[in-house]
Each structure stands twice: as C-alpha cells, then as structure tokens.
C-alpha cells in the first residue's frame, strides 16, 4: 500500500507542481501586464 502511494506521489507531484508554477506565472503576467521573463518586451496585458 505504501509502495503504491509512493508511486502515485512520484507520478502526480511533477504534474501538480508544473501546473501550479504555470498558474502562478500566468496570474502574475495577467495581473501586472508584464512578462515574468527577464529582459522581455512582450506585453501580456489582456
């Protein structure tokens, strides 16, 4: 049971983490209207 739980964590954590970071960066870019990339000239304001 513990083994299955560990495998699930290994499979789901990377996706959850990636999705969370993507959401945070998208939120910041829309909120501020600026790209989070250093040296960027793209305007993200919608």
């Amino acid at each position: 049971m513990k083994g299955i739980f560990n495998v699930l964590i290994c499979l789901l954590f990377p996706i959850a983490w990636g999705a969370l970071i993507n959401w945070i960066f998208t939120f910041l870019e829309r909120r501020t209207g600026r790209s989070t990339h250093p040296n960027s000239k793209i305007d993200y304001h919608i």
């Binding site: 964590i9 290994c10 954590f13 990377p14 996706i15 959850a16 983490w17 990636g18 999705a19 970071i21 993507n22 960066f25 790209s35 989070t36 990339h37 250093p38 040296n39 960027s40 793209i42």
Partner: protein, 300 residues
C-alpha cells in the same frame, strides 16, 4: 601533503589540479565537469563513488551560482521553465539516490574470479555507457553541422506529444508543449543526477534544445538555473546520507575557480565546431579510462 577523505589519504595538490582541470573545462566548454570529475576521483584517487557524487554536486552549487548571475544579466534565463521542471527533477533525484542506496546494499559481485563492490562495478558501467553515448552524439551532431554548413534551430521532438495540459514559453521560442512530456523528461534526468551526479550541460542542454526546441542561448542560460536548483537539492539529499566531504569540495572549488578564467580566454580563440569536437574527444578519453579499469577488473 595529504588530506583524509572518508578514510583514504588523498594528495591535496592532486585534488587542486583536478579542480583546475574541471574549472578549465567549465570555462572552455561551458559545462560543469561533473561527468568527468566523478569517475576520475574514483579511479585515480580511490574515493568511494557516493562521496565523489555528493561532493561533486556540492561543488556544482558553487560554480553554477556565478553562472546564473551572469546569464540573468544577459536575460538568457526563463525562470518559469526552470521552476516548472524542478518539481519532476527533484523526484528523479530522490529516485536516483534511492537506486544508489540499493546498489550499495547489493554488497559484492564476483567479477573475473575476484569479489568487487557491486556499486563500484555497476556505476562504472553506467558512466561508461553515458559518456560513450554523449561523445558519439556530439561527434555525429558536429559532423552533420559541418556538412550542412548552416545551423537550424531544432523544432523539438517532445513537441510532437499530444498529451494535455499544454504550456508555452514564447520568449524562448516554445509556443506550445505538453506539460507531462516536459516534467517527466526532467524526472528522468533527475535520476541520473541522484545516481551519477550529472545532469547539467551534458543532459539538460540537449533536452532543452532538441527535446523542447528552446533557442540555444536560452537553453544554456535556463540550464544554469535548473542545475543550481538540482545540485542544491542533490547536495542536501546526499549530505543527509553523509556523502559530502567538505575538504574535497573546498580543494576542487579552489582549483576550478582559478582555472575557469583561463578556460574562458581559451574558448574565445577557438571556433565553436572545434570546441565541440575537443569536448567529445575528452569525454572519450575519460570513457576509455573507465573502460580500461573495467577490463582490468574483469580479466584481472
């Protein structure tokens, strides 16, 4: 003049010299030098593999920090991509360290009529395989490049995966890529980082360029931040198992700090095609050293 590293007397000047060679390589080729230093520390100085791996990762934290600052100034780092894939990468590192522990528990194997450490034997084969593959791929790539003459930005093999959700990194040339393909490929590289102490220039840069289709400068810059994260996490995980020797880290860092600048100067005077060719040649020499050591173990 010796220093005691996990019960083995090691010559200090030899360590500084090896640090110097690794520093020159990192300045010259823009890589950390981990895949080359770790087996050399083991073969030439007789330091156990787990100590070599943990200490090399710790040294990488120091060297990659200054690289990150330099690339950040040029705007070559994409923090979103780096942060997004470290989650999967950390899981991979944990799996790699777990595999290392498992190999250590295997004890001894009988090779060529003599009993040697299973960890030592299997890790040397793994290093040999990785280094031969990497040098072969670099040689093929540089030959293709020479024949075509013009460098074209690869489209990115992993962009072909159609598994949602999708993410985009417009500033570094990636319009749309599958999130699972992105994070699981970083997880696989994490296994190599935890198990062998490698990952940066030798695995992540090719993944970003040929796998994700990231522009070359951004790939190298973003890799430096990923390496800083993964080396820090790898150092903590290995340190908790007692695999980091501070003296080893200090002497390697002293040598590499001094000689990195010489490597950078040498880099400016040689064409990039020749640099890749020399790099493949050096990787082949180290692979040859490991191969010779393995043959000696098998045939006595």
């Amino acid at each position: 003049m010796n220093v005691d590293i996990s019960g083995i007397p090691v010559n200090i000047l030899g360590l500084i010299g090896l640090g110097c060679i690794s520093g020159f390589l990192s300045g010259f080729f823009g890589i950390g030098g981990g895949p080359l230093i770790t087996p050399i520390l083991n073969i030439l100085f007789g330091i156990p593999f787990p100590i070599c791996i943990g200490s090399t990762l710790s040294r990488t934290v120091g060297t990659s920090f200054s690289t990150v600052l330099r690339f950040w100034k040029f705007g070559d780092i994409d923090p979103k991509l780096a942060l997004m894939i470290v989650g999967g990468n950390f899981v991979g590192i944990e799996l790699g360290v777990y595999l290392l522990d498992w190999l250590d528990k295997l004890g001894q194997v009988n090779v060529g009529g003599q009993s040697i450490s299973a960890l030592q034997y299997y890790l040397q084969w793994l290093f040999f395989g990785v280094l031969i593959t990497v040098s072969g791929l670099i040689l093929i790539e540089s030959l293709i490049h020479r024949r075509k003459g013009v460098h074209r930005q690869p489209r990115g093999l992993l962009r072909g995966f159609r598994i949602p959700p999708y993410v985009s990194f417009p500033k570094i040339g990636v319009r749309q890529i599958s999130l699972p393909a992105t994070v699981y490929s970083a997880l696989v590289i994490g296994v190599f980082t935890g198990l062998l102490g490698i990952g940066g220039g030798i695995l992540f840069v090719p993944l970003l360029i040929y796998g994700y289709g990231v522009e070359t400068h951004a790939a190298v810059g973003t890799t430096s931040l990923i390496v800083l994260f993964s080396a820090t996490y790898g150092t903590i995980t290995h340190a908790m198992r007692g695999n980091v020797d501070l003296w080893l880290v200090v002497f390697l860092l002293v040598g590499s700090t001094i000689c990195a600048q010489i490597g950078v100067i040498a880099n400016q005077r040689i064409e990039s095609d020749s640099i890749r060719f020399y790099f493949a040649f050096i990787v082949l020499i180290v692979a040859g050293m490991i191969g010779f050591n393995l043959l000696r173990a098998i045939y006595g």
